[in-house]
Symmetry: C2
Subunit: 129 residues, 2 copies
């Protein structure tokens, strides 16, 4: 039993937000939700697992694309209700083909501007899937 995990505060749905950061570039790659099982699996396997609220099930990041995230550290914040997971990203984090999911930036006027770098073509990676 991992007593450290007993201190974490999962919300009323049993979930905790997990921010994923690239260890090398220090880019924030994505945020997703973990339940206790996804966190256990992440620690066990060294690859990030999350809980999909829309699909109602656990998933391994990269299960269809191969773009897994190798976990290098797991931190928590002062309230113990958010996780920060530092990873080595294989491929890219975003299913839209960008390295980071945060690829759009707010502008003083106008529209969200694409500022992220595109790494792959989603049509190629997810074909047939």
């Amino acid at each position: 039993m991992d007593v450290q995990l007993e201190k974490l505060k999962f919300d009323s749905n049993g979930l905790i937000p997990a921010i994923v950061q690239d260890l090398k570039t220090r880019e924030v790659l994505m945020m997703a939700w973990m339940n206790r099982e996804a966190l256990d699996r992440t620690i066990e396997t060294g690859k990030t697992h999350f809980y999909s609220r829309s699909r109602g099930k656990q998933w391994l990041k990269g299960e269809s694309s191969g773009h897994v995230q190798h976990v290098k550290s797991i931190r928590t914040d002062c309230d113990a209700d958010v996780l920060l997971v530092q990873v080595e990203q294989v491929g890219a984090a975003c299913h839209d083909g960008y390295y980071s999911c945060f690829y759009r930036e707010h502008q003083p006027q106008g529209e969200w501007k694409i500022v992220g770098r595109k790494v792959f073509d989603p049509k190629e990676v997810y074909k047939g899937g």
Copy 2:
């Protein structure tokens, strides 16, 4: 009216998670929640504002400590349901005195280890408050 903000997906409580990252060091400093009003105020003033779920009201980050965050960019992710705010941090982000709120790291065995750097003594900064 800022049409960009119409595209954001606030949750059923009218909230969106906002990850705050230090622009210079690229450390992830904290995560807190914004409602639409807190986001509008953040954009207007150039200082981060959040919505406190426990206190049921908006707050300016640094209102008691003076440790405000000057906003340099606001990004959103592929699903438009999370924000990434890059800031210049005055003082430190964490009310426990650490530069980042994510100052504890999970260990293979044992207990959460303090890995963050302490910047101030909370007893001094919040005295009388």
